[in-house]
Symmetry: C2
Subunit: 234 residues, 2 copies
Amino acid sequence: MTQTSDTTSYKDIKQTVLQRIRSGEWQPDALLPNEQELAVEFSCTRTTVNRALRELADEGFLERRRKAGTRVLSAPQRQARFTIPLVRDEIEAAGGTYRYALVSQETQTAPDWLTARLALRVDQRVMHVRCMHFSTNTPFQFEDRWIVIDSVPQVEQADFSSIGPNDWLVQTVPFTNVELTFLASRADATLAGFLDVSEGEPVFTAERITWLQGQPVTFAKMYFAAGYRMSTEF
Amino acid sequence: MTQTSDTTSYKDIKQTVLQRIRSGEWQPDALLPNEQELAVEFSCTRTTVNRALRELADEGFLERRRKAGTRVLSAPQRQARFTIPLVRDEIEAAGGTYRYALVSQETQTAPDWLTARLALRVDQRVMHVRCMHFSTNTPFQFEDRWIVIDSVPQVEQADFSSIGPNDWLVQTVPFTNVELTFLASRADATLAGFLDVSEGEPVFTAERITWLQGQPVTFAKMYFAAGYRMSTEF
DNA sequence: AATTCCATTTTGTGTAGACTTTATGTATTT
DNA sequence: AAATACATAAAGTCTACACAAAATGGAATT
Protein backbone atom coordinates (compact mmCIF):
# COMPACT_ATOMS: atom_id res chain seq x y z
CA MET A 1 0.00 0.00 0.00
CA THR A 2 1.09 3.53 -0.51
CA GLN A 3 0.47 6.96 0.94
CA THR A 4 -2.90 8.49 0.14
CA SER A 5 -4.56 11.68 1.31
CA ASP A 6 -6.83 9.87 3.77
CA THR A 7 -3.92 8.27 5.58
CA THR A 8 -3.62 8.82 9.28
CA SER A 9 -0.51 10.87 9.76
CA TYR A 10 1.77 10.99 12.76
CA LYS A 11 0.34 14.42 13.52
CA ASP A 12 -3.20 13.05 13.67
CA ILE A 13 -2.00 10.36 16.02
CA LYS A 14 -0.29 12.90 18.24
CA GLN A 15 -3.49 14.91 18.44
CA THR A 16 -5.61 11.88 19.21
CA VAL A 17 -3.26 10.67 21.90
CA LEU A 18 -3.20 14.11 23.52
CA GLN A 19 -6.99 14.20 23.42
CA ARG A 20 -7.19 10.88 25.19
CA ILE A 21 -4.79 12.04 27.85
CA ARG A 22 -6.68 15.28 28.36
CA SER A 23 -10.07 13.64 28.42
CA GLY A 24 -8.85 11.25 31.07
CA GLU A 25 -9.34 8.20 28.87
CA TRP A 26 -5.68 7.50 29.42
CA GLN A 27 -4.98 8.44 33.02
CA PRO A 28 -1.54 9.33 34.34
CA ASP A 29 0.65 6.24 34.72
CA ALA A 30 -1.63 4.28 32.43
CA LEU A 31 0.04 1.94 29.97
CA LEU A 32 -0.78 2.67 26.35
CA PRO A 33 -1.43 -0.09 23.83
CA ASN A 34 1.79 -1.06 22.16
CA GLU A 35 2.87 0.36 18.82
CA GLN A 36 1.65 -2.64 16.87
CA GLU A 37 -1.84 -2.39 18.35
CA LEU A 38 -2.05 1.34 17.78
CA ALA A 39 -0.90 0.84 14.21
CA VAL A 40 -3.85 -1.47 13.67
CA GLU A 41 -6.24 0.95 15.35
CA PHE A 42 -5.08 3.89 13.26
CA SER A 43 -4.65 1.79 10.14
CA CYS A 44 -1.10 2.83 9.54
CA THR A 45 2.31 1.31 9.98
CA ARG A 46 4.16 0.96 13.23
CA THR A 47 6.73 3.43 11.88
CA THR A 48 4.13 6.16 11.87
CA VAL A 49 2.90 5.36 15.36
CA ASN A 50 6.50 5.26 16.49
CA ARG A 51 7.17 8.75 15.28
CA ALA A 52 4.06 10.13 16.95
CA LEU A 53 4.83 8.52 20.31
CA ARG A 54 8.52 9.35 20.11
CA GLU A 55 7.75 13.02 19.63
CA LEU A 56 5.20 13.06 22.43
CA ALA A 57 7.75 11.47 24.71
CA ASP A 58 10.26 14.07 23.60
CA GLU A 59 7.78 16.78 24.45
CA GLY A 60 7.40 15.37 27.93
CA PHE A 61 3.95 13.78 27.79
CA LEU A 62 4.90 10.14 27.66
CA GLU A 63 7.55 7.87 29.02
CA ARG A 64 8.77 5.01 26.89
CA ARG A 65 10.84 2.01 27.83
CA ARG A 66 11.62 -1.03 25.79
CA LYS A 67 9.71 -4.04 26.88
CA ALA A 68 7.98 -1.96 29.56
CA GLY A 69 5.92 -0.05 27.03
CA THR A 70 4.63 3.51 26.88
CA ARG A 71 2.99 5.29 29.84
CA VAL A 72 1.35 8.62 30.41
CA LEU A 73 3.60 10.73 32.63
CA SER A 74 1.86 11.46 35.89
CA ALA A 75 3.52 14.77 36.53
CA PRO A 76 3.88 16.02 33.01
CA GLN A 77 7.47 17.21 33.12
CA ARG A 78 6.73 19.71 30.47
CA GLN A 79 9.65 21.58 29.22
CA ALA A 80 9.67 25.26 28.56
CA ARG A 81 11.75 26.07 25.56
CA PHE A 82 13.29 29.46 25.91
CA THR A 83 14.69 30.80 22.72
CA ILE A 84 17.47 32.98 23.99
CA PRO A 85 17.40 35.88 21.59
CA LEU A 86 20.31 38.06 20.69
CA VAL A 87 19.96 41.37 22.45
CA ARG A 88 19.72 43.27 19.19
CA ASP A 89 16.91 41.04 17.92
CA GLU A 90 15.04 41.34 21.19
CA ILE A 91 15.22 45.13 21.14
CA GLU A 92 14.28 45.44 17.50
CA ALA A 93 11.42 42.98 17.88
CA ALA A 94 10.04 45.28 20.56
CA GLY A 95 10.22 48.19 18.16
CA GLY A 96 13.29 49.83 19.65
CA THR A 97 16.47 50.96 17.96
CA TYR A 98 19.50 49.03 19.11
CA ARG A 99 22.60 50.88 20.26
CA TYR A 100 25.77 49.37 21.66
CA ALA A 101 28.41 51.03 23.80
CA LEU A 102 31.69 49.67 25.10
CA VAL A 103 32.42 50.50 28.72
CA SER A 104 35.78 48.87 29.24
CA GLN A 105 38.03 46.24 27.70
CA GLU A 106 41.22 44.87 29.22
CA THR A 107 43.19 41.68 29.60
CA GLN A 108 43.95 40.51 33.08
CA THR A 109 44.66 37.47 35.16
CA ALA A 110 41.44 35.63 35.94
CA PRO A 111 40.10 36.53 39.37
CA ASP A 112 39.84 33.67 41.83
CA TRP A 113 36.07 33.30 41.66
CA LEU A 114 36.24 33.01 37.86
CA THR A 115 39.09 30.50 38.04
CA ALA A 116 36.93 28.40 40.32
CA ARG A 117 33.76 28.86 38.33
CA LEU A 118 35.28 27.89 34.98
CA ALA A 119 37.84 25.43 36.38
CA LEU A 120 40.69 27.44 34.90
CA ARG A 121 44.34 26.89 35.73
CA VAL A 122 45.75 29.43 38.14
CA ASP A 123 46.96 32.66 36.61
CA GLN A 124 45.24 31.94 33.31
CA ARG A 125 44.64 35.16 31.44
CA VAL A 126 41.24 36.46 30.37
CA MET A 127 39.82 39.38 28.43
CA HIS A 128 37.38 41.35 30.55
CA VAL A 129 34.77 43.33 28.61
CA ARG A 130 31.99 45.46 30.01
CA CYS A 131 29.41 47.01 27.73
CA MET A 132 25.92 48.44 27.49
CA HIS A 133 23.01 47.65 25.22
CA PHE A 134 20.45 50.40 24.71
CA SER A 135 16.96 50.39 23.28
CA THR A 136 16.42 53.80 21.71
CA ASN A 137 18.84 55.33 24.24
CA THR A 138 17.16 53.70 27.23
CA PRO A 139 19.43 51.31 29.09
CA PHE A 140 18.39 47.77 28.30
CA GLN A 141 21.18 45.51 29.48
CA PHE A 142 24.59 45.79 31.11
CA GLU A 143 26.91 43.00 30.10
CA ASP A 144 29.93 41.92 32.12
CA ARG A 145 31.94 39.33 30.24
CA TRP A 146 35.14 37.35 30.56
CA ILE A 147 36.70 35.51 27.64
CA VAL A 148 39.37 32.87 28.20
CA ILE A 149 42.31 33.88 26.04
CA ASP A 150 43.81 30.39 25.79
CA SER A 151 40.52 29.18 24.33
CA VAL A 152 40.13 32.08 21.91
CA PRO A 153 43.60 33.51 21.19
CA GLN A 154 42.25 35.84 18.48
CA VAL A 155 40.44 37.81 21.16
CA GLU A 156 43.65 39.68 21.98
CA GLN A 157 43.39 41.41 18.62
CA ALA A 158 39.64 41.99 18.86
CA ASP A 159 38.27 45.50 19.22
CA PHE A 160 34.94 45.66 20.97
CA SER A 161 34.35 49.36 20.53
CA SER A 162 31.85 48.89 17.75
CA ILE A 163 30.86 45.22 17.89
CA GLY A 164 29.63 43.52 21.04
CA PRO A 165 31.60 40.60 22.44
CA ASN A 166 28.64 38.30 22.02
CA ASP A 167 28.24 39.10 18.33
CA TRP A 168 31.99 38.72 17.89
CA LEU A 169 32.05 35.36 19.65
CA VAL A 170 29.10 34.02 17.72
CA GLN A 171 30.91 34.83 14.49
CA THR A 172 34.27 33.57 15.66
CA VAL A 173 33.86 30.60 17.94
CA PRO A 174 31.39 27.81 17.66
CA PHE A 175 30.34 26.36 20.98
CA THR A 176 29.31 22.99 22.16
CA ASN A 177 27.81 23.50 25.53
CA VAL A 178 26.07 26.25 27.41
CA GLU A 179 25.00 26.64 31.00
CA LEU A 180 22.38 29.30 31.53
CA THR A 181 21.24 30.57 34.90
CA PHE A 182 18.61 33.09 35.86
CA LEU A 183 18.58 34.89 39.17
CA ALA A 184 17.58 38.09 40.87
CA SER A 185 20.40 40.31 42.02
CA ARG A 186 20.68 43.62 43.79
CA ALA A 187 21.88 46.74 41.98
CA ASP A 188 25.11 48.02 43.47
CA ALA A 189 26.21 51.61 42.88
CA THR A 190 27.97 50.87 39.57
CA LEU A 191 25.14 48.81 38.17
CA ALA A 192 22.54 51.32 39.34
CA GLY A 193 24.39 53.98 37.41
CA PHE A 194 24.55 51.98 34.20
CA LEU A 195 20.95 50.81 34.28
CA ASP A 196 19.51 54.06 35.60
CA VAL A 197 17.83 52.53 38.64
CA SER A 198 18.20 53.22 42.34
CA GLU A 199 20.88 51.41 44.28
CA GLY A 200 19.48 48.30 45.91
CA GLU A 201 16.77 47.73 43.29
CA PRO A 202 16.19 44.15 42.13
CA VAL A 203 17.79 43.37 38.79
CA PHE A 204 16.90 40.37 36.65
CA THR A 205 20.16 38.67 35.81
CA ALA A 206 21.25 35.94 33.44
CA GLU A 207 24.57 34.16 33.64
CA ARG A 208 25.92 32.22 30.75
CA ILE A 209 28.91 29.92 30.60
CA THR A 210 29.99 28.59 27.24
CA TRP A 211 32.30 25.70 26.49
CA LEU A 212 33.91 24.42 23.34
CA GLN A 213 34.60 20.72 23.58
CA GLY A 214 35.10 20.82 27.32
CA GLN A 215 37.21 23.98 27.27
CA PRO A 216 35.65 27.02 28.95
CA VAL A 217 35.29 29.83 26.45
CA THR A 218 33.42 32.63 28.15
CA PHE A 219 31.46 33.65 31.19
CA ALA A 220 28.91 36.45 30.92
CA LYS A 221 26.67 38.18 33.40
CA MET A 222 23.82 40.09 31.84
CA TYR A 223 21.93 42.55 33.99
CA PHE A 224 18.58 43.67 32.65
CA ALA A 225 16.89 47.02 33.13
CA ALA A 226 14.05 47.43 35.61
CA GLY A 227 10.82 45.71 34.69
CA TYR A 228 12.41 43.11 32.43
CA ARG A 229 10.45 39.91 32.04
CA MET A 230 11.71 36.72 30.40
CA SER A 231 8.67 35.02 28.99
CA THR A 232 7.76 31.91 27.08
CA GLU A 233 4.70 29.93 26.07
CA PHE A 234 4.45 26.20 25.71
CA MET B 1 20.26 -4.28 2.41
CA THR B 2 19.55 -4.44 6.07
CA GLN B 3 20.80 -2.89 9.28
CA THR B 4 24.19 -4.05 10.45
CA SER B 5 26.40 -2.91 13.31
CA ASP B 6 28.68 -0.90 11.03
CA THR B 7 25.82 1.15 9.64
CA THR B 8 25.95 4.90 9.86
CA SER B 9 23.19 5.89 12.22
CA TYR B 10 21.29 9.13 12.35
CA LYS B 11 23.23 9.96 15.50
CA ASP B 12 26.53 9.57 13.71
CA ILE B 13 25.28 11.86 11.00
CA LYS B 14 24.18 14.46 13.53
CA GLN B 15 27.61 14.39 15.11
CA THR B 16 29.39 14.68 11.80
CA VAL B 17 27.22 17.55 10.66
CA LEU B 18 27.80 19.39 13.94
CA GLN B 19 31.54 18.81 13.57
CA ARG B 20 31.51 20.33 10.12
CA ILE B 21 29.60 23.34 11.35
CA ARG B 22 31.95 23.80 14.28
CA SER B 23 35.07 23.33 12.24
CA GLY B 24 33.85 25.96 9.82
CA GLU B 25 33.70 23.53 6.93
CA TRP B 26 30.05 24.49 6.63
CA GLN B 27 29.90 28.20 7.34
CA PRO B 28 26.77 29.98 8.54
CA ASP B 29 24.25 30.43 5.73
CA ALA B 30 25.97 27.76 3.69
CA LEU B 31 23.77 25.38 1.79
CA LEU B 32 24.25 21.74 2.70
CA PRO B 33 24.27 18.99 0.10
CA ASN B 34 20.77 17.64 -0.33
CA GLU B 35 19.53 14.57 1.46
CA GLN B 36 20.13 12.29 -1.50
CA GLU B 37 23.76 13.36 -1.79
CA LEU B 38 24.38 13.01 1.92
CA ALA B 39 22.77 9.58 1.85
CA VAL B 40 25.34 8.53 -0.74
CA GLU B 41 28.20 10.06 1.23
CA PHE B 42 27.20 8.34 4.46
CA SER B 43 26.15 5.14 2.67
CA CYS B 44 22.73 5.08 4.20
CA THR B 45 19.23 5.82 3.07
CA ARG B 46 17.68 9.23 2.67
CA THR B 47 15.33 8.35 5.54
CA THR B 48 18.25 8.23 7.93
CA VAL B 49 19.76 11.48 6.69
CA ASN B 50 16.31 13.04 6.95
CA ARG B 51 15.96 12.16 10.57
CA ALA B 52 19.39 13.53 11.43
CA LEU B 53 18.82 16.83 9.65
CA ARG B 54 15.26 17.13 10.92
CA GLU B 55 16.42 16.81 14.51
CA LEU B 56 19.27 19.26 14.02
CA ALA B 57 16.80 21.74 12.57
CA ASP B 58 14.53 21.13 15.52
CA GLU B 59 17.43 21.83 17.85
CA GLY B 60 18.03 25.14 16.16
CA PHE B 61 21.21 24.47 14.17
CA LEU B 62 19.79 24.22 10.69
CA GLU B 63 17.04 25.75 8.65
CA ARG B 64 15.24 23.58 6.15
CA ARG B 65 12.91 24.60 3.37
CA ARG B 66 11.50 22.46 0.64
CA LYS B 67 13.08 23.05 -2.69
CA ALA B 68 15.39 25.63 -1.10
CA GLY B 69 17.40 23.02 0.77
CA THR B 70 19.10 22.98 4.14
CA ARG B 71 21.25 25.83 5.47
CA VAL B 72 23.39 26.42 8.52
CA LEU B 73 21.70 29.01 10.70
CA SER B 74 23.89 32.07 10.98
CA ALA B 75 22.77 33.11 14.43
CA PRO B 76 22.19 29.76 16.03
CA GLN B 77 18.89 30.42 17.78
CA ARG B 78 19.62 27.76 20.30
CA GLN B 79 16.86 26.93 22.61
CA ALA B 80 17.27 26.36 26.28
CA ARG B 81 14.95 23.72 27.57
CA PHE B 82 13.93 24.39 31.11
CA THR B 83 12.32 21.48 32.77
CA ILE B 84 10.12 23.16 35.32
CA PRO B 85 10.29 20.81 38.25
CA LEU B 86 7.63 20.38 40.86
CA VAL B 87 8.70 22.15 44.03
CA ARG B 88 8.77 18.93 46.00
CA ASP B 89 11.02 17.23 43.45
CA GLU B 90 13.34 20.19 43.35
CA ILE B 91 13.70 20.28 47.11
CA GLU B 92 14.18 16.54 47.46
CA ALA B 93 16.68 16.46 44.61
CA ALA B 94 18.73 18.98 46.56
CA GLY B 95 18.66 16.69 49.57
CA GLY B 96 16.09 18.64 51.57
CA THR B 97 12.91 17.46 53.21
CA TYR B 98 9.80 18.96 51.69
CA ARG B 99 7.19 20.58 53.90
CA TYR B 100 4.06 22.37 52.79
CA ALA B 101 2.00 24.90 54.71
CA LEU B 102 -1.23 26.61 53.76
CA VAL B 103 -1.36 30.31 54.52
CA SER B 104 -4.81 31.27 53.34
CA GLN B 105 -7.59 29.99 51.13
CA GLU B 106 -10.72 31.90 50.16
CA THR B 107 -13.07 32.47 47.28
CA GLN B 108 -13.51 36.00 46.07
CA THR B 109 -14.37 38.07 43.05
CA ALA B 110 -11.38 38.35 40.76
CA PRO B 111 -9.46 41.59 41.30
CA ASP B 112 -9.30 43.91 38.33
CA TRP B 113 -5.69 43.20 37.46
CA LEU B 114 -6.42 39.47 37.35
CA THR B 115 -9.53 39.97 35.26
CA ALA B 116 -7.42 41.90 32.78
CA ARG B 117 -4.51 39.47 32.89
CA LEU B 118 -6.60 36.37 32.27
CA ALA B 119 -9.26 38.03 30.13
CA LEU B 120 -11.97 37.02 32.59
CA ARG B 121 -15.51 38.34 32.52
CA VAL B 122 -16.20 41.00 35.12
CA ASP B 123 -17.12 39.72 38.55
CA GLN B 124 -15.98 36.19 37.76
CA ARG B 125 -15.17 34.32 40.95
CA VAL B 126 -11.81 32.83 41.81
CA MET B 127 -10.25 30.78 44.57
CA HIS B 128 -7.29 32.58 46.08
CA VAL B 129 -4.71 30.36 47.75
CA ARG B 130 -1.49 31.41 49.40
CA CYS B 131 0.96 28.84 50.68
CA MET B 132 4.56 28.13 51.60
CA HIS B 133 6.99 25.46 50.55
CA PHE B 134 9.83 24.67 52.91
CA SER B 135 13.06 22.77 52.48
CA THR B 136 13.87 21.23 55.85
CA ASN B 137 12.06 24.10 57.58
CA THR B 138 13.88 26.78 55.61
CA PRO B 139 11.54 28.89 53.49
CA PHE B 140 11.95 27.86 49.86
CA GLN B 141 9.04 29.38 47.97
CA PHE B 142 5.98 31.47 48.65
CA GLU B 143 3.14 30.72 46.24
CA ASP B 144 0.31 33.12 45.53
CA ARG B 145 -2.29 31.49 43.32
CA TRP B 146 -5.67 32.20 41.81
CA ILE B 147 -7.86 29.48 40.33
CA VAL B 148 -10.78 30.33 38.07
CA ILE B 149 -13.82 28.64 39.58
CA ASP B 150 -15.82 28.51 36.36
CA SER B 151 -12.97 26.57 34.74
CA VAL B 152 -12.50 24.18 37.69
CA PRO B 153 -15.78 23.99 39.61
CA GLN B 154 -14.49 21.19 41.86
CA VAL B 155 -12.07 23.63 43.43
CA GLU B 156 -14.83 24.95 45.70
CA GLN B 157 -14.77 21.63 47.53
CA ALA B 158 -10.99 21.36 47.55
CA ASP B 159 -9.09 21.61 50.81
CA PHE B 160 -5.57 22.88 50.43
CA SER B 161 -4.50 22.45 54.02
CA SER B 162 -2.48 19.33 53.33
CA ILE B 163 -2.05 19.24 49.57
CA GLY B 164 -0.66 22.14 47.56
CA PRO B 165 -2.83 23.74 44.89
CA ASN B 166 -0.32 22.86 42.21
CA ASP B 167 -0.30 19.17 43.11
CA TRP B 168 -4.08 19.25 43.27
CA LEU B 169 -4.41 20.91 39.88
CA VAL B 170 -1.96 18.57 38.21
CA GLN B 171 -4.04 15.63 39.41
CA THR B 172 -7.37 17.22 38.58
CA VAL B 173 -7.11 19.35 35.46
CA PRO B 174 -5.12 18.66 32.36
CA PHE B 175 -3.84 21.75 30.64
CA THR B 176 -3.15 22.69 27.12
CA ASN B 177 -1.18 25.85 27.28
CA VAL B 178 1.18 27.54 29.66
CA GLU B 179 2.77 30.96 29.76
CA LEU B 180 5.79 31.18 31.99
CA THR B 181 7.55 34.38 32.95
CA PHE B 182 10.64 35.02 35.04
CA LEU B 183 11.36 38.33 36.66
CA ALA B 184 13.06 39.96 39.62
CA SER B 185 10.75 41.55 42.14
CA ARG B 186 11.21 43.43 45.38
CA ALA B 187 10.23 41.88 48.71
CA ASP B 188 7.46 43.84 50.37
CA ALA B 189 6.81 43.52 54.10
CA THR B 190 4.54 40.47 53.77
CA LEU B 191 6.82 38.60 51.41
CA ALA B 192 9.89 39.47 53.46
CA GLY B 193 8.18 37.88 56.44
CA PHE B 194 7.32 34.68 54.63
CA LEU B 195 10.68 34.23 52.96
CA ASP B 196 12.73 35.41 55.91
CA VAL B 197 14.58 38.14 54.04
CA SER B 198 14.83 41.87 54.59
CA GLU B 199 12.21 44.11 53.08
CA GLY B 200 13.35 45.44 49.74
CA GLU B 201 15.54 42.46 48.91
CA PRO B 202 15.46 41.15 45.35
CA VAL B 203 13.31 38.05 44.95
CA PHE B 204 13.47 35.74 41.96
CA THR B 205 9.89 35.33 40.78
CA ALA B 206 8.12 33.07 38.33
CA GLU B 207 4.63 33.70 37.01
CA ARG B 208 2.65 30.96 35.42
CA ILE B 209 -0.64 31.18 33.58
CA THR B 210 -2.33 27.96 32.56
CA TRP B 211 -5.13 27.47 30.07
CA LEU B 212 -7.32 24.53 29.15
CA GLN B 213 -8.48 24.78 25.57
CA GLY B 214 -8.47 28.57 25.58
CA GLN B 215 -10.09 28.88 29.02
CA PRO B 216 -7.91 30.42 31.72
CA VAL B 217 -7.47 27.97 34.58
CA THR B 218 -5.00 29.45 37.01
CA PHE B 219 -2.52 32.22 37.60
CA ALA B 220 0.34 31.66 40.01
CA LYS B 221 3.12 33.84 41.31
CA MET B 222 5.98 31.94 42.85
CA TYR B 223 8.48 33.87 44.95
CA PHE B 224 11.75 32.09 45.64
CA ALA B 225 13.94 32.43 48.70
CA ALA B 226 17.12 34.48 48.58
CA GLY B 227 19.92 33.05 46.49
CA TYR B 228 17.67 30.97 44.26
CA ARG B 229 19.08 30.24 40.81
CA MET B 230 17.17 28.73 37.92
CA SER B 231 19.68 26.84 35.86
CA THR B 232 19.86 24.75 32.73
CA GLU B 233 22.44 23.27 30.41
CA PHE B 234 22.13 22.77 26.69
C1' DA C 1 14.79 -16.77 50.00
C1' DA C 2 17.88 -14.87 47.06
C1' DT C 3 20.38 -14.85 42.93
C1' DT C 4 21.35 -15.84 38.26
C1' DC C 5 19.96 -16.78 33.73
C1' DC C 6 17.20 -16.51 29.73
C1' DA C 7 13.24 -16.25 26.55
C1' DT C 8 10.20 -12.82 25.16
C1' DT C 9 8.19 -8.48 24.54
C1' DT C 10 8.44 -3.83 23.24
C1' DT C 11 10.64 0.02 21.61
C1' DG C 12 14.65 1.70 18.62
C1' DT C 13 16.55 2.19 14.28
C1' DG C 14 17.80 0.98 9.65
C1' DT C 15 16.70 -0.22 4.39
C1' DA C 16 14.18 0.48 0.16
C1' DG C 17 10.95 2.74 -2.30
C1' DA C 18 7.01 5.78 -3.40
C1' DC C 19 4.00 9.56 -3.23
C1' DT C 20 3.09 14.52 -1.44
C1' DT C 21 3.81 19.24 -0.63
C1' DT C 22 6.09 23.42 -1.03
C1' DA C 23 8.36 27.04 -3.15
C1' DT C 24 11.80 28.52 -6.34
C1' DG C 25 13.48 30.08 -10.48
C1' DT C 26 12.56 30.35 -15.20
C1' DA C 27 9.78 31.01 -19.06
C1' DT C 28 5.92 33.19 -20.75
C1' DT C 29 2.69 36.59 -21.05
C1' DT C 30 0.83 41.06 -20.13
C1' DA D 1 9.16 45.89 -16.21
C1' DA D 2 5.83 43.42 -13.88
C1' DA D 3 2.79 39.74 -13.26
C1' DT D 4 1.55 35.03 -14.08
C1' DA D 5 2.10 30.16 -15.03
C1' DC D 6 4.63 26.10 -14.67
C1' DA D 7 8.15 22.44 -14.45
C1' DT D 8 11.00 20.79 -11.09
C1' DA D 9 13.88 20.18 -7.10
C1' DA D 10 14.03 19.37 -2.36
C1' DA D 11 12.19 18.24 1.87
C1' DG D 12 8.11 15.83 4.18
C1' DT D 13 5.82 11.74 5.09
C1' DC D 14 4.10 7.11 4.58
C1' DT D 15 4.44 1.88 3.62
C1' DA D 16 6.45 -2.46 4.46
C1' DC D 17 9.75 -5.06 6.39
C1' DA D 18 13.88 -6.43 9.17
C1' DC D 19 17.08 -6.66 12.67
C1' DA D 20 18.93 -4.56 17.24
C1' DA D 21 18.82 -3.53 22.01
C1' DA D 22 16.91 -3.24 26.38
C1' DA D 23 14.55 -4.83 30.22
C1' DT D 24 11.02 -7.52 32.41
C1' DG D 25 9.22 -11.41 34.51
C1' DG D 26 9.55 -15.92 35.28
C1' DA D 27 12.26 -20.24 35.43
C1' DA D 28 16.14 -22.45 37.09
C1' DT D 29 19.68 -22.62 40.31
C1' DT D 30 22.11 -21.81 44.45
